[in-house]
Symmetry: C2
Subunit: 359 residues, 2 copies
């Protein structure tokens, strides 16, 4: 059995989940919601999933400072020093740079899994096996490893990774990262067997990611590399770093530029819960092909809908086909699934009309 | 100026308004709701309308005992002795028989207007004039007078009154009462000019209505005629009377059988707020032909809808045409207006599935 004491996890949980508005709200984004009515939020499910893989004291949560109480409340077993509170929204690269520096200061030999907190993962045994294999790989290679999901449909909402030459059974060099494809291209991707969904779950050693930042995104490295977590003015350093650094994703800042990027192809069940339609497609349906997200529904002449309603509420619908019905107490959304791309605009319109109130 | 001291009003406010479920609820039926966001409930608007016509101390509210606190709270100026609490639901005839006996005991020479509490009336000056004329008529004739509304459309949801010979400019003998007609017949009714909507607003003297009950519905008269409001066991008498008497409407028990029935044809604006569609048809619409009942709505590709949402809530809809969207906090209904007749069945289904909780 491998020594796990130098394995760390960074859970990113600062997003606002605006595509799931109004179910996901600025004050209570989707990672904090008990999405499936299981009694555990997506963040808690993420934590539970990581716990067999990494010592509890090595789990770090990075979030926006406005969610400090939510994270503390939902993950009471996390060391408060391991809850990193971002003073500003700067996308994933600064988040990861900071967490990496935080870990480096206590354990320069660490290996790390970085994971979003708002994805659904099923078949957790396969997940555990995959992450163990990934740790072993990055502990013996100077590698930036990303997890690639075998695509099951020509999804246009995800980025894809094209695989290159094999290193092990499941781990290959990355040939290219691609942006979200159009429907035609997505079908080609699916048919070739060479393209995998980019999961946003990464593994690497602190040494490898630190070097990658220095070489590929020196402006970000400069903001975080000299931070000293033990210093009295650590918080000031953090505020200054976030104020100075650009908002940029880890994919763009590092992964797409690095030469030592690998993909581990995995088979566990995965859904990024990125859109209502994706959630609908991947959820169990009743006999009318409706998906009921944790609420009481009486549906007449209705099919293909997804109902997501907070609280103990009864929803009665007649003659709705392929709609999202989402109720968050003070906001109700009724919108065709096919129009879900418009939700961002609706949120903007709500902001113009009513200010922050309903965001 | 006529002496008004013997004029009384009976406001019937014990209904449950189930056709407006879930906006109207068992615990808060529609007459108690501030339907138009004016700050006054339909019941309060009824009271306000009557106040210029009848001395305040002569206004009597009859309701179910479960709504005692609602009526006391909404009509704080009514003498508590004038709030009559029905121990059981028995339709309008027992309600009116009791109220009539209650008035007779203190003023056997009274004249009375009996009115529902959940209708919308506009052009209140015309209303006042019509009621004054009606009082004058029933104070000088042995007459059971009902108010007939000039129909503006071939409505199939109302009962109609066919007019007979004229007695005054606006008051005529009633030739027939008719049940709700089908669409074809309703068009004929409208074209003849002989048919008026039965408003459910009545005027008569206590002597006339008491005699009518005795002669035409002796079984109801027997339950209430001997009641003595001053007696120590008055409440017991009430409970016994309601337990013994049949549930029957005043139309069926008296109006359709009586020989001395008259109709005053009136021109004030009137809507019985009986169905969502009727409310929609008679409400101001925005430029997308949506009706917004006291709530914030962002509507995209949507028209012909009626939105009735309690509380300070934002409703965002896309691609809804001709729907009812009603939200009462713990129940949401989304249903085509054309299916509103199904709402009663939906309420039944909700009862079977969830008990009384959402009624």
């Amino acid at each position: 059995m491998k020594d796990k004491s130098k394995r760390y996890c960074v859970i990113m949980c600062g997003g606002i989940g605006s595509r799931f508005w109004p179910y996901s709200r600025t004050e209570m984004p989707k990672q904090f919601i008990d999405f499936f009515g299981t009694g555990r939020s997506l963040l808690q499910m993420t934590y539970d999933r990581i716990l067999p893989l990494v010592p509890a004291e090595n789990i770090i949560a990075v979030t926006n400072e406005r969610y400090a109480d939510l994270v503390r409340g939902q993950l009471p077993d996390i060391n408060p020093d391991n809850i990193l509170l971002e003073p500003a929204r700067r996308n994933t690269a600064p988040c990861i740079a900071w967490a990496s520096r935080h870990i480096e200061a206590v354990c320069p030999d660490a290996s790390v899994i970085v994971t979003p907190s708002d994805h659904l993962i099923t078949r957790e045994r396969e997940f555990e096996k995959a992450i163990s294999d990934g740790f072993n790989f990055v502990e013996s290679h100077d590698a930036l490893l990303t997890l690639g999901i075998s695509p099951t449909r020509p999804e246009t909402g995800y980025g894809y990774i094209q695989i290159g030459e094999a290193v092990t059974d499941n781990i290959r060099k990355v040939k290219t990262f691609t942006e979200k494809p159009n429907a035609e291209l997505a079908k080609v991707f699916l048919s070739t067997g060479e393209f995998f969904w980019n999961s946003g779950i990464f593994l690497w050693s602190i040494k490898s990611i630190t070097r990658a930042f220095s070489e590929l995104s020196p402006e970000i490295a400069a903001c975080f590399a000299t931070m000293t977590p033990a210093a009295a003015d650590y918080r000031e350093q953090v505020v200054q770093a976030f104020s100075a650094c650009p908002a940029i994703s880890i994919d763009y800042a590092v992964m797409e530029k690095a030469a030592n990027v690998y993909v581990e192809t995995v088979t566990f069940g995965w859904n990024d819960l990125g859109t209502w339609s994706a959630l609908y497609d991947n959820s169990p349906k009743n006999r009318d092909a409706n998906v009921t997200q944790n609420c009481n529904v009486l549906a007449y002449n209705s099919s293909g809908n997804i109902f997501a309603v907070r609280g103990d509420k009864l929803v009665v619908v007649d003659s709705l086909k392929d709609y999202i019905v989402a109720d968050a107490g003070d906001v109700l959304l009724v919108c065709p699934k096919a129009h879900e791309q418009e939700i961002k605009q609706m949120v903007n319109d709500a902001k113009i009309r009513f200010g922050e109130k309903f965001l």
